[in-house]
Amino acid sequence: MAGGAAPGGSTASDTYARARHWLLMPSWAVLGVFVLAPVCVMVIYSFLTKEFRGGVIWDPTLAAYDQFFFDRGLFGDSEPKLQWTYITIFWRSIWQAGLATILSLLIGFPTAYYIATRPAKTRALWVFLITIPYWVNLLIRTVSMKFLLRDEGPLNDFLLNIGLIAEPLQIINTNLAVQLGLFYSYLPFMVLPIYAAVERYNFSMSEAAADLYATKWTTLRRIVLPAVRPGVIAGCILVFVPSLGAFLAPDLLGGAKNFMIGSLIEEQFKGNAGNWPFGAAASMILLSMVLILLMIFAHQQRRAEASA
């Protein structure tokens, strides 16, 4: 057979090795033309001179990256210092997106697991139940979420009425609201991949673990989670990355008092500044950051596999 089995065994399969280039062709064609090419345009833009109020001048420069990394004061002529502004914005976004991802995982995993262990006939129904809300527009969902969370909104009314709290909870315009919003925006992105993975899990391994004195929770941590890891990773990527660039939830629920990466970049294209190269540069830095994160992750994964 062509290709040959992966050295050292492992689970890598080459069943469709002969057809792999044909199989990849459609995705290369569509993504190459309609995503990669535009992104390349953006890469080029990030090295061009900004045209005032949007657009670019074809004059190569590193100004956009300089602006990102060096602080030259309010008037742009002081001694360059390390620029904390954008780093702070990036860090804030990562933090928010990370918490939102954890929140989604904490609720999404049990949900996905629960669905995957329903009788085969009803599973599809549960999956639909999770996705139905997403037929309604994100903006509408977010606005009504905001309505729910308001100081005088139904949630606070309810909590006050049952006597759980004495004062309305201030949720809106807080980080918590942003995380809730992100969680709400992307929950199915967590649930569905995990569901697809758990559905495939061989429960006789859970039995073996229980037989070896593992409690259910230990079984979950030591056996189930590693086995469905591809699904969990897919879910986390699908929630974390879009959350990083999100601006609807931070703007509407968080009060937009602090830039997130998404709004910062949007501002460069749709705001007064119209600084396209800077927007492009910030995007490229975000993109590289995400790619590096994923590469570190993939590397560790490979190492864990190879250490067998």
Binding site: Y134, Y184, G231
Partner: protein
């Protein structure tokens, strides 16, 4: 099997699921309730009325919304279908294609659309479409949607495929199935939950997209989000809530129907 002996069940998971559904549906219940509000306010209840539903059908913008709904659904359906097909093929190559040089780049390319901030992709795509002389319109929206839906379809499919041992396909090929047959008869059915998940994600992502659509759509071609967005910008208006409620109702009817249809097929 009772919960005590069943190693699969976890106490609390059902509660989490219900909590999850409550969180998902609570805002929509608000939308539904207020779509029947006589007043145009989201904060003041003034009694029951169907006037906003009437407005959706006969109001000044009814034609626009009808067309937008048609566009949205046809685009979501086509884009999700094609994206799922493309993603399935790609996942097969990447998970079952052995080790090869283009593997990692391919994986990177497929996940690229979710890595790039949407606004950047929107502007970039627009610039790109213009530079290659694409006239903006229904087609531009469709292609863009296919492209950015691919990773959403891909990840659940890949996650699923990684969990399927290849001995099943080996057994099929041993029994004279060609690779294509082994794929269709064995791998594909086993991957179905992943494919359905991927399709649904792609579908809702396409249905929900505003930013990119807004940039690449031609003049006068609206999807539901672009049609709705302006109205919501100035506060959630009851006719929009009525539309949303109907969408919700429509999806519930569709799901219920498909459930019963598939159930009947199963019992036959």
């Amino acid at each position: 099997m009772s919960a005590k002996t069943d190693v699969r069940t976890y106490t609390g998971f059902r509660f989490m699921t219900i909590l999850c559904l409550v969180v998902l549906y609570a805002p929509l219940i608000v939308v539904t309730v207020y779509s029947f509000n006589a007043s145009r306010s989201l904060t003041v209840w003034e009694g029951l009325s169907l006037r906003w539903y009437a407005e959706v059908f006969v109001g000044p913008e009814s034609a626009k919304f009808k067309q937008a709904a048609l566009n949205s659904f046809s685009i979501a359906l086509i884009a999700a279908t094609l994206a799922t097909a493309i993603a399935t093929a790609a996942a097969t190559a990447i998970v079952r294609g052995g080790k090869f040089r283009l593997r990692t780049p391919s994986l990177g390319l497929i996940t690229l659309p979710i890595m790039v901030p949407e606004i950047v992709l929107a502007v970039a795509t627009l610039i790109f479409f213009n530079s290659i002389g694409f006239t903006r319109g229904y087609m531009t929206i469709l292609v863009a949607h296919i492209a950015f839906c691919i990773p959403f379809a891909y990840l659940p499919i890949q996650a699923r495929m990684q969990g399927i041992e290849d001995t099943y396909e080996h057994a099929a090929m041993d029994l004279y199935a060609t690779r294509a047959q082994a794929f269709r008869r064995i791998l594909l059915p086993l991957m179905m939950p992943g494919i359905i998940s991927g399709f649904l994600l792609a579908f809702i992502v396409s249905l929900d997209d505003f930013i990119i659509t807004n940039f690449v759509k031609g003049a006068g071609v609206e999807t539901l989000p672009t049609a709705i967005f302006g109205s919501v910008k100035q506060g959630l208006k009851p006719n929009i809530m009525a539309i949303s409620t109907m969408l919700l109702g429509f999806s519930i009817v569709m799901v219920t129907l498909s459930y019963f249809v598939s159930k009947r097929n199963n019992t036959q």
